[in-house]
C-alpha cells in the first residue's frame, strides 16, 4: 500500500517532467531546423513581404494606442510620486527611460503576440490539419522555408521598427500629459528629454524587440506546425502560441535587462 502510494506520487511528479523535457527537445530541434532554413535558399520574398505588412503595418494602430497611453500614465504616476520629493523635473527622463527601455518593447510585443502570434498559429495549424503542409511537401516545397523562415525573418525585422515608432509615440504621450495637464513648459520638457537620452536606452529596447519578434513568430509557427486533431487542435495551438510567447517575452525581458544593465 505504502509502496504503491510512493510510486503514484513519483509518477505524478515524473510525468510532467518527462513531458516537459520532451517538449524542450522538440522545440530545440524545431528552432535549429528553422534557423538552418532561414539562411539557406530558396527564399520566398513575396510571403516575407506579406508577413511584414501583416505584422508591421497593420499592427501600427494597436502599438500606437498602447504606447501613447503607457507614456501618458507614466507621466501622471511619476508626477504623483515625485511631487512628494519636489523632483517633478525628472518626469521627462522617467518617461523617456521607462518607455524606451521597458514599456514600448514589452507592451508592443505582448500586443503583437496576441494579434500575430495567434494568427500565425491558427493559419499554420489549419494548414496542418487540412493536409496543406503535406501538399507543400509533395509539391517539392519545404514547409520550413516556405512557412516558417519568412515569418521568423519578419518578426525579427518588424518588431524593432514598431518599437521605434512606439518609443516616439510613448514619449509624445508623456509630453502631452506633462505639458497640458501638469503644466510643464513645452520647450523645457523637450529639452530635458533630448538631453537625457542615451543611445543605450534605445538600443537595448530595440534589441529586446528583435528577440521578442523572434519569440512571437517562433511560438506561432511551432505551435501551429505541430497542431493536430481538427478545429479543437488548432484552437489549442492558438492559445498555446499566445500564452507561451507572452511568458517567454516577460522572462527574456528580465534576462536581457540583466545583460544590458546589471553592473
Amino acid at each position: 500500500m505504502q509502496k504503491k502510494r510512493v510510486e503514484h506520487f513519483l509518477r505524478t511528479l515524473g510525468k510532467p517532467l518527462v513531458k516537459f523535457i520532451i517538449g524542450l527537445g522538440e522545440l530545440s530541434s524545431f528552432v535549429i531546423k528553422a534557423l538552418y532554413h532561414c539562411f539557406t535558399p530558396p527564399y520566398y520574398p513575396k510571403i516575407f513581404i506579406r508577413q511584414l505588412l501583416d505584422m508591421g503595418f497593420y499592427s501600427l494602430p494597436v502599438v500606437g494606442l498602447t504606447t501613447i497611453f503607457a507614456g501618458m500614465v507614466i507621466a501622471l504616476q511619476s508626477y504623483a510620486g515625485f511631487a512628494r520629493f519636489g523632483a517633478e523635473s525628472a518626469i521627462a527622463t522617467v518617461v523617456l527611460i521607462s518607455v524606451t527601455r521597458e514599456l514600448a518593447p514589452v507592451l508592443s510585443a505582448l500586443m503583437v503576440a496576441g494579434r500575430i502570434g495567434a494568427a500565425m498559429a491558427a493559419e499554420i495549424g489549419t494548414m496542418r490539419v487540412t493536409e496543406q503542409i503535406d501538399a507543400l511537401i509533395t509539391l517539392s516545397t519545404n514547409p520550413f522555408k516556405y512557412l516558417v523562415a519568412p515569418r521568423l525573418w519578419s518578426g525579427v525585422i518588424v518588431l524593432p521598427l514598431l518599437v521605434l515608432i512606439g518609443d516616439i509615440i510613448g514619449i509624445f504621450g508623456g509630453y502631452v500629459v506633462g505639458v497640458y495637464k501638469l503644466g510643464f513648459n513645452p520647450a523645457n520638457y523637450i529639452n530635458s528629454t533630448l538631453q537625457n537620452m542615451e543611445p543605450i536606452d534605445i538600443i537595448s529596447g530595440l534589441t529586446k524587440a528583435a528577440v521578442f519578434g523572434f519569440i512571437i513568430a517562433l511560438m506561432g509557427c511551432y505551435n501551429g506546425y505541430r497542431s493536430k486533431g481538427g478545429a479543437q487542435g488548432v484552437g489549442e495551438a492558438t492559445t498555446n502560441a499566445v500564452v507561451s510567447a507572452s511568458i517567454l517575452i516577460l522572462i527574456f525581458n528580465y534576462v536581457l535587462t540583466e545583460v544590458f544593465f546589471s553592473k
Binding site: 489549419t126 493536409e131 503535406d134 501538399a135 507543400l136 511537401i137 509533395t138 517539392s140
Partner: protein, 253 residues
C-alpha cells in the same frame, strides 16, 4: 510482366502501441492503375503517406523506380519531382488563388513567368472541366467537387509519372463522384502515368482500377484484377464488396 514502378516490402508502421501497418508487400507496375481498398482505419492513408515520405515507416523498404526512398532525403526529393497527389480534402492553399494553386510547382520550382504559368494553369483547369473565370477565385469560394477538380489539376500540371489519389470521391454526390472518376482515368491515360489510389468506394474501384489490392489489419490480404475481384471466393473481399456486416472482417468500435 511489366516493369515494377513502386515496390513495397515488409512495411511496418505503428503509432505508440497501435500497429497500423504490419508487413505490407505490394508491387505497382509501370502504367497501371492500382487501387487499394479497405475499411476505415485499416492503414490506407498511412500506407500512401509512407510511400510519399510524409511518414517514416518503422521498418521495411519502398523502392520507386528501383530507388530506395525510406530514410533517403535525396531520393525523396527526387520522387516528389515526379509525382502528383490529390488529397482527400483537396488541401488547396487558401492563401493563394485557384490558378496559383494549380501552377504552384511551375511558379515555385520551375520559376516560370507568371503570365505563362497562368495560361498553363487555365489550360489544365479546362482539361478538368473548369471555366477560365474560376482561375482568379479563392479556393474557399468553390464547391467540394470543384475543389477536387482543382486539386486534380494541381496534381497533373507537372505531368507526373506517378499520381496518388487519396479517397478521390469521398464527400461527393454519386454523379460528381463519377465525373471525378472519369477525369482521373482520362488524365492518367493522357499522361501514361502510374496511379495509386486508396478508396472504399466500390463504384470508383470498378471505374479506375486495373488491379485491386485489399488491405486488412495492416496487411495486403488479397490482390487481383477487377474481374478476379468479382469472381473471388475470398471471404474478406466478398464481404467488403457486398458491404455486409457479417463475415471475417470485424468492425472495431
Amino acid at each position: 510482366m511489366a516493369e515494377v514502378k513502386i515496390s513495397i516490402r515488409n512495411l511496418y508502421k505503428s503509432f505508440g502501441k497501435k500497429q497500423v501497418l504490419s508487413g505490407v508487400n505490394l508491387d505497382v507496375r509501370t502504367g497501371e492503375s492500382l487501387v487499394v481498398i479497405g475499411g476505415s482505419g485499416t492503414g490506407k492513408s498511412v500506407l500512401i503517406k509512407c510511400i510519399q515520405g510524409l511518414l517514416v515507416p518503422d521498418m521495411g523498404s519502398i523502392k520507386i523506380d528501383g530507388e530506395e526512398v525510406v530514410g533517403s532525403r535525396r531520393s525523396l526529393k527526387n520522387i516528389h519531382g515526379k509525382m502528383g497527389m490529390l488529397f482527400q480534402g483537396g488541401a488547396l492553399f487558401d492563401s493563394l488563388s485557384v490558378w496559383e494553386n494549380v501552377a504552384f510547382s511551375l511558379l515555385e520550382n520551375q520559376n516560370m513567368n507568371r503570365n505563362k504559368a497562368k495560361m498553363e494553369a487555365i489550360r489544365v483547369l479546362r482539361q478538368v472541366g473548369l471555366a477560365p473565370d474560376v482561375a482568379d477565385l479563392s479556393p474557399s469560394e468553390l464547391s467540394g467537387g470543384m475543389q477536387k477538380r482543382v486539386g486534380l489539376a494541381r496534381a497533373v500540371i507537372t505531368k507526373p509519372e506517378i499520381i496518388f489519389f487519396d479517397e478521390p470521391t469521398t464527400g461527393l454526390d454519386p454523379i460528381m463522384a463519377d465525373v471525378i472518376n472519369d477525369l482521373i482515368v482520362e488524365s492518367a491515360k493522357g499522361l501514361g502515368a502510374t496511379t495509386f489510389t486508396i478508396t472504399h468506394d466500390m463504384a470508383s474501384v470498378r471505374k479506375i482500377a486495373d488491379r485491386v489490392a485489399m488491405l486488412y489489419k495492416g496487411k495486403i490480404v488479397w490482390q487481383g484484377t477487377v474481374k478476379e475481384m468479382d469472381k473471388t471466393e475470398d471471404p474478406y473481399v466478398r464481404q467488403f464488396i457486398n458491404g455486409s456486416s457479417q463475415g471475417p472482417i470485424k468492425v472495431e468500435i
